[in-house]
Symmetry: C2
Subunit: 170 residues, 2 copies
């Protein structure tokens, strides 16, 4: 099954001139969704993973499933102010200005092997912030998984040093 | 296993006087997380479900897993402006002011059987908006599933007419 054909192109979202890769058309097709998730997880079968960190918000959908299937814990990496308990923060730069991600301080324990999951690899800034949060808490990032990769934005270069995988690359 | 003991009480979040039920301590424990999800899905095994609608953002974690396990599609119900394609909107009232949820217009097809999933049943306003969106698009809500229910807020009354289930009730 060619999963790429389930991704919808939406022009001018979130702003003029950007061709948005909409994954909801894949998620809403039961067969395509299931196949995509199974392919994303295949390489980790039998590997010892302690936690999956899912990046808000679409990374929650994919990361939750991967944690459930791997039988490990799920830890949300959230936008600032969303987590109720003590959290550690990592800022990252956007095209204009900065943003930040937070993870609960007790979300990752020292020595844990952690998989970072998000839907889209664009410039790589968000995923790098998530990976650094894992390391701040003493965890080891064993891989960073994406459903879609926009290769022309060179996000992999920012994530060099990590094992990066994507299912559908443009 | 008593799942309630994996929920953390956080006082004064998101504001003074509110005792927040933090589910991240359950999610980050692989065994508790898996058991919670299996219990939430048990009653739907063998039932024909076409779509799971997960409510942003924590409903994405739980709803994604349920869709994957049930072998059906996943549809996100999002805060306004987050969905890239044509979406239908339902407003709901909060303690102060209003908020809204959106679902893509092609997310649910007429006649589909849909499960609505969120982490927390408080006053029920958000889940009711999600259920109405499903119905606006011609779907039938076969159940509304929560991980945690704050019974003292009487959200079930607002959702009367729907099959409502929660795993952990206070």
């Amino acid at each position: 099954m060619n999963l790429e054909k389930f991704i919808r192109d939406v022009p001018d979202f979130p702003k003029q001139g950007i061709l948005f890769k909409d994954i909801t058309t894949l998620l809403q097709n039961g067969d395509a969704f299931r196949l995509a998730m199974n392919r994303m997880m295949k390489k980790y079968r039998g590997e010892e993973i302690d936690k999956v960190v899912g990046v808000e918000a679409r990374g929650f959908i994919l990361g939750g499933i991967m944690a459930y299937k791997l039988g490990c814990g799920f830890v949300p990496a959230r936008k600032p102010g969303k987590l109720p308990y003590s959290a550690t923060r990592e800022e990252y730069t956007l095209e204009y200005g900065t943003n930040a991600l937070e993870v609960h301080e007790d979300g990752i324990l020292p020595g844990e092997k952690v998989l970072v999951v998000d839907d889209l690899l664009a410039t790589g800034g968000t995923a790098l912030a998530a990976a650094r949060l894992v390391e701040k808490l003493g965890g080891t990032v064993v891989g960073i998984e994406f459903l879609v990769e926009l290769g022309f934005l060179h996000g992999r270069e920012k994530l060099s040093g990590y094992k990066v995988n994507s299912l559908i690359a443009y």
